[in-house]
């Protein structure tokens, strides 16, 4: 009788390029990025951290609605997004707004999404993405479908989808990776393991030692990455993308990361389930700090540059909020009009009713 679990598990090591001190520890896998690319990656992370801080503040002032904090996860989110092409398709979860913004979603629309205005979901045509998914796991099966569609159309593009560690417990997660495997569809299944699904720690979520190993049952590649290391995340995603478009099948990527903030701004209190020690331990691994050290070592980054990005972000956010404020208020009659291509009779009646209700 052969028991294989341990031998499978031991093969899933954490892939890393840049250590916590900003030193390259894995030269062989250093991705081929120009100095400008490296700076752009840093710029995006700094900008996104600022956007998170401002979004939290705006939420507290009642100027935003639903918001899921992202600080701590920048390397996972932006390292993976940076490896994509414009025509690749993103199926995000509710925390994956930064990827959408860097893929071209105007900031004011992200704010409208947060406020619960449908225009926040009317993506520009060149943003190949769905709005952030609320139902955990639904995006996984859909990603298999988008990827299969891309393959059938002969496109050299991939579908990438994101969920958290908790999401890997949903049936849809397994169905998605299995379908994509069966069709050798060009999909990238991305799991941001930030150790908690709201309050439930990953050890209570599953007996699996890694989430990456869940790929084995579906017969697809799986890899675990240091999710605080933007270079490692970029390299792994780029590799998955290249293999996918060559017809070599989907990849499951698990990144080890952490969300510093609460689960969402709607009343979650992380002190109920996390200790200060754990928070501090993870802050030492901060993706911005480590990448900044690396870039400073190469004379590619300075405090001045960083401040410039912060000011740029603040300025953009101010303008975007103003634009969101000025955008026409959403009406129930708009929503009625969006239910079908052609308005059925009963909705025509209801349209009149609500026009009247709204005119008062």
């Amino acid at each position: 009788m052969k028991h294989v679990l341990e031998s499978v598990e031991s093969q899933f090591e954490t892939f890393q390029i840049l250590d916590e001190n900003g030193k390259i520890v894995n030269k062989d896998n250093m991705p081929d990025l120009s100095d400008d690319d490296l700076k752009e990656l840093m710029r995006r992370m700094v900008y996104t951290r600022m956007l998170d801080q401002r979004s939290i503040a705006l939420n507290r002032q009642g100027r935003l609605g639903f918001y899921a904090p992202t600080a701590g996860q920048e390397a996972s989110q932006l390292g993976s997004q940076f490896a994509l092409e414009k025509e690749d398709y993103i199926l995000p979860g509710y925390r994956d707004v930064p990827q959408l913004i860097w893929q071209g979603l105007p900031l004011y629309q992200a704010f409208l999404f947060s406020r619960g205005h449908f225009h926040g979901n009317q993506f520009p045509e060149d943003v190949h993405a769905l709005s952030p998914q609320i139902i955990i796991g639904a995006q996984y099966t859909q990603a298999a479908g988008v990827a299969l569609g891309l393959k059938k159309r002969g496109k050299k593009n991939v579908a990438i989808t994101y969920t958290g560690d908790g999401g890997t417990s949903q049936g849809d997660f397994y169905e998605g990776i299995n379908f994509a495997g069966a069709y050798q569809a060009p999909a990238i299944f991305f799991v941001q393991n930030n150790y908690f699904a709201i309050s439930v720690p990953v050890e209570e979520q599953t007996a699996a030692k890694t989430l990456a190993q869940k790929s084995v049952a579906a017969g697809i590649e799986g890899i675990q990455v240091d999710g605080m290391d933007v270079l490692a995340v970029y390299a792994v995603t780029k590799d998955a993308r290249e293999r996918a478009i060559k017809g070599e099948g989907p990849t499951l990527i698990e990144t080890l990361t952490y969300r510093y903030g609460p689960h969402t701004m709607a009343g979650d209190d992380p002190t109920r389930y996390r200790t200060d020690d754990l928070d501090n331990e993870w802050e030492k691994k901060d993706p911005l700090v480590r990448f900044r050290k690396y870039l400073e070592g190469k004379k590619l980054w300075s405090e001045e540059e960083e401040n410039k990005v912060i000011e740029e972000a603040k300025d953009d956010i101010k303008k975007a909020i103003k634009k969101a404020d000025e955008y026409p208020k959403q009406k129930v009659t708009d929503l009625i009009g969006n239910m079908y291509e052609e308005l059925p009779n009963h909705l025509q009646e209801q349209m009149e009713e609500y026009k009247e209700k709204e005119s008062k």
């Binding site: 609605g65 406020r115 619960g116 309050s199 929503l335 609500y354 209700k357």
Partner: protein, 325 residues
């Protein structure tokens, strides 16, 4: 008597039954140490231990199936679906499996499961959190669907649900959780499932509703009283099975009905109740039965939900229509 919010009454009911019966198990996403995202299970894990009150992995379909399996082992599961919009994930377990357990086993097996879940609008949640999907499950024979409107009813109905030997879906309107307090006996008591409650007596028109809309109906009744219209307000409390006797009795008295539900108009509880009334009491009606509902769209994006949701003014308008018919 204690003054409690609805959520306190619900916690109290679970505590009572965890104490009364070792077979009662409370579980779901974040219900353990975190006490649930609304704190409905606050303190229960500390009091009863992780064997009785525990977190599950994040999968509603898994929670549904686990409940059925535990019920087959003689437990009385009280699972939580974190927000009712996520029930689609568990539809097979609920509608396809537990609701038919007694039937398909020729009465030899049962599924004494009480699924609790928050639902309902007006609190600006993201998509698929607030939807009123009770009509979906109410269409399925074999499961009871209970929706309390007051803290008192919540405690008594939840204890009754947990003791019931058939599956019960227990829906808790989020807006009612903490919006007011009511008198709740500290001792244990039950409120019968399947029994409506006349929350206000009146003789001119019957307002039938459930959940948060009971409060909108009561508010409308106060407004109407200023114009000498005396409205009776019936709180269904259980939307499947329907307490048709209480309704028919009221119709015989008032001869006019307005049904008020927060759900869309399309194929909900209202349609079923109105069919029953016209079959049983059509000759007692002086006017068509009118409905106050949300429009037939998906639940509104939050910025528009105040207009989308029915309110007491809409009810007053409809009542005036049936009175002046």
């Amino acid at each position: 008597m204690a003054q409690m919010t609805m959520i306190q009454a619900i916690t109290d009911a679970m505590r009572t039954e965890l104490k009364n019966d070792d077979n009662v198990l409370v579980f779901g996403e974040d219900v353990g140490q975190n006490g649930g995202v609304f704190r409905a299970t606050e303190g229960l894990q500390d009091e009863f231990g992780v064997d009785r009150v525990f977190d599950t992995p994040l999968a509603e379909s898994g929670i549904g199936g686990l409940s059925i399996g535990l019920a087959l082992q003689g437990y009385r599961p009280v699972p939580e679906i974190q927000f009712f919009g996520f029930v689609y994930e568990a539809m097979d377990s609920i509608s396809g499996q537990m609701a038919r357990m007694r039937y398909r086993s020729g009465g030899s097996k049962s599924a004494p499961i009480t699924i609790r879940s928050p639902f309902g609008g007006g609190v600006h949640t993201p998509e698929l959190h607030a939807d009123s999907l009770e009509g979906l499950i109410a269409q399925q024979p074999g499961i009871k669907v209970v929706i309390p409107a007051t803290p008192h009813d919540a405690k008594g109905l939840l204890i009754a649900a947990i003791r019931d030997n058939d599956p019960v879906l227990f829906l808790e309107h989020m807006k009612l959780y903490r919006s007011f307090r009511g008198e709740v006996p500290e001792e244990e008591y039950t409120v019968d499932l399947g029994k409506a409650d006349v929350k206000r007596e009146g003789k001119d028109v019957t307002l039938i509703s459930y959940g948060a809309m009971v409060h909108a109906s009561l508010k409308a009744a106060e407004e109407l009283e200023k114009n000498d219209i005396d409205a009776e307000v019936i709180d269904l409390r259980t939307v499947s099975p329907i307490d048709i006797d209480t309704i028919v009795e009221s119709v015989k008295k008032t001869n006019r009905v307005v049904f008020v539900q927060e759900a869309q108009r399309q194929a909900g509880v209202a349609s079923h109740v109105i069919s029953e009334i016209q079959e049983r009491a059509i000759l007692h009606l002086e006017a068509p039965i009118l409905r106050v509902t949300a429009p037939d769209t998906v639940y509104a994006f939050s910025q528009a939900e105040e207009v989308w949701l029915p309110n007491h003014k809409d009810i007053v308008n409809k009542v005036n229509e049936v009175i002046n018919f």
